[in-house]
């Protein structure tokens, strides 16, 4: 074979081009007609991530659905949560969106322009949304378009080490009528630290979302209800930051989490931590703990009682070629029976109004407390965190800013003024 330099360049170019073309090629999700009916055989790619055992539960649900709908083949594509956004961006911007994806509140805003309007595909916006609790509506209804369907709902709350509290002789609130103030809670934690084997009073997840629980309880918010202006630097915000710092300075919260990146779950599992401010998903995570007893109690009150609602959703994507079939599967997932099965077996909380009281095999009373936290949540919490075209522009700065205050690199006022400027800038850019 003769190859001069021109020929070689041509060969390289052709090979590169063929690789690029191969990479950009698309496969059709429709696989021809089934022999027994007029329905086409379709394959639905379902991008999925798991926090616990819910992947296995979903596999069973899919198997049931495929038995009833023999023309549908649903492929679960499991990814790590950290890779979810990048994976979906690659698929969508590459022109090959999946039929479905499980997403959290963090991703909804970014992908909403590419979502199938489920209100249009199913029973209309009002009928569809009336099935679910109202507090999470701002997350999945954007510009009167239903961009995703809620699968489970989350609430922030407090998990405590019952063994340590019993050892110290400190009682926790058992009803929403006798909950602690924050000062009372801190005093109780100090007492537990003094009178038991507790090394730390409280571990607090290293996320701005979990910190914001305190913000809402102190009467603050990040953005005004019209969504036109930042409000995080008001008096309530400053008070919340300073209180958070005080708990670190008093040694109640170990600095190793927010300053050293230590995992609060691992610390709580050592049995030397009195309480963990996290969310209901930790019930499933902690259920294997046998070294000590633990439970869930009510979060303290400041100006308000409040949690921060969140959840996981299923989104169907435009241009997948199987939008209708994807919407039908979402309707199946959202039904009372299937949604209840998913949440009950996964140890999650259902977003459906008629499935609040599930018969969990573990921790039924704990879920009742989380549900109570959710029912006592101020609207600002969902309104703020549902603005997912704006929140990602400042949330990592807020996290860094809180750390800066804890490390005494800035005052609460300075930090929050800076964050407020970023919020206003993000709002202006989003217009």
């Amino acid at each position: 074979m003769k190859l001069n330099s021109k020929g070689l360049i041509l060969l390289v170019f052709t090979l590169v081009l063929s690789l690029v073309v191969a990479g950009c090629g698309s496969t059709n999700n429709t696989e021809g007609n089934s022999s027994d009916s007029s329905k086409k055989n379709v394959k639905l790619d379902f991008v999925w991530f798991s926090d616990g055992d819910e992947g296995k539960v979903m596999e069973n649900i899919i198997a049931d659905y495929e038995k009833e709908n023999t023309n549908v083949d649903i492929q679960l594509i499991e990814v790590a949560y950290n890779d979810l956004s990048t994976k979906l961006k690659t698929m969508v911007s590459g022109g090959k969106p999946p039929a479905l994806a499980r997403i959290s509140t963090t991703e909804i805003g970014s992908f909403s322009n590419f979502a199938v309007d489920l209100g249009e595909q199913l029973d209309g916006v009002d009928t569809f949304t009336s099935q679910f609790i109202d507090s999470i509506k701002p997350y999945y209804v954007i510009d009167n378009k239903v961009v995703a369907s809620p699968m489970d709902v989350t609430a922030n709350g407090i998990i405590y080490n019952k063994t340590l509290f019993d050892q110290a002789g400190v009682a926790v609130p058992t009803s929403s009528d006798d909950i602690w103030t924050w000062d009372e809670f801190n005093a109780s934690l100090k007492e537990v630290m003094e009178k038991s084997d507790a090394k730390y009073g409280l571990v607090w997840d290293f996320t701005p979302h979990r910190w914001s629980t305190l913000l809402y309880q102190f009467g603050g918010s990040m953005i005004n209800s019209e969504g036109t202006e930042g409000t995080i630097n008001n008096e309530a915000g400053i008070e919340a930051v300073n209180y958070f710092k005080k708990m670190h300075d008093d040694g109640i919260i170990p600095k190793s989490i927010w300053l050293g990146g230590e995992n609060p779950n691992n610390l709580f599992r050592t049995g030397t931590v009195a309480a963990h401010l996290s969310g209901n998903w930790m019930v499933s995570n902690y259920k294997d703990i046998t070294d000590f007893e633990w439970g869930v109690t009510y979060m303290p009150i400041a100006k308000n009682r409040s949690s921060v609602p969140g959840g996981k959703f299923v989104m169907a994507f435009q241009k997948s070629g199987v939008e209708e079939e994807a919407a039908n599967f979402i309707a199946y997932l959202s039904s009372k029976e299937v949604n209840s099965k998913f949440n009950q077996e996964s140890l999650f909380m259902s977003p459906r109004k008629d499935s609040a009281d599930l018969d969990y095999a573990f921790g039924k009373e704990m879920f009742a407390i989380f549900a109570d936290e959710l029912n006592n949540t101020i609207p600002a919490a969902a309104e703020d965190w549902s603005k997912q075209t704006i929140v990602p522009k400042f949330s990592s700065d807020l996290k860094d800013g809180l750390v800066e205050v804890l490390a005494e690199g800035a005052t609460a006022e300075e930090m929050l003024n800076d964050i407020n400027d970023r919020i206003n800038e993000a709002i202006a850019n989003a217009k």
């Binding site: 911007s93 970014s110 190793s256 300053l259 230590e262």
Partner: protein
Amino acid sequence: MASQPNLITKKKRKLQIAPYLFVLPNLLIFTVFIVVPTLLGVIYSFHNYDGLNPMKFSGFDNYAYIFTDDKFWSTLGKTLTYAIIVVPLIYACSLGVAILLVQQVIMKGFFRAIFYWPTMISFIIVGLTWRWIFGELGIINAVMVAFDYEQITFLANPFFAKVAVIIAAVWSRLGFFMVLFVAGLLAIPKDFYEAAHLDGASKVKAFFHITLPLLKPTTLLVVMLSMIEAFKAYPLMFALTGGGPNKATTYIVQYIYETGFAKQELGLASAMSVVLFIIITIFTVLQFKLTKGGEN
């Protein structure tokens, strides 16, 4: 008679083409996965782009923003400081170990393997491993508690966190550069040392006047590679300190990553990558020029 030179030319041509065919697979992969994305990155850098919605052309806005972004430059400064500390340490430690392991030592191969093994572990695992040593629940603290000492939250202290990152980085890369130095040391003719010994030169003198000068090409390679690595360091810090405390160990690649993926500003992050690419290129060219390409 005229066909003879023609045959030779054909053979010559074939021989000239062969090397290109050998590098072709790598060239293809390099082009598709490095060159094309790099060019796309340059294009993104002139746009407002979140990775999903249509790009909006913004001219030099992203670059103008970078030049006024104090955090970008302070992070770059921190990265430079890290590189200035870690590169000489990697150089000295890998050269020191290489010198020890070219001697007649029992179980030389085993010791070389011990030092080399960490280079085969991913940076994420290296970070997690050292987290189990320096962390709140780590071995050092467990030992300190066992001996009734107060716990030290190493990774919550900016100084100790930086030290931990440097120790982990040196540990994980020492073996790779040691192998380069072993090859360099074995290539130095023994006659030079024998002649120096006969002339009464001490081992220290021989090291500074024979070993170091003759290792110049290897030194250039080690310094250049470790400098580039130091500027690109991210996964190790991500796993060990998460970039904290208070951004003390957040270096430039993590800053770019956070801008691109946490803040969803891929256009700006691409512009930052272009600036970093230019800076690394300038450093590399300067090093190359200053050391005259590593020639002795």
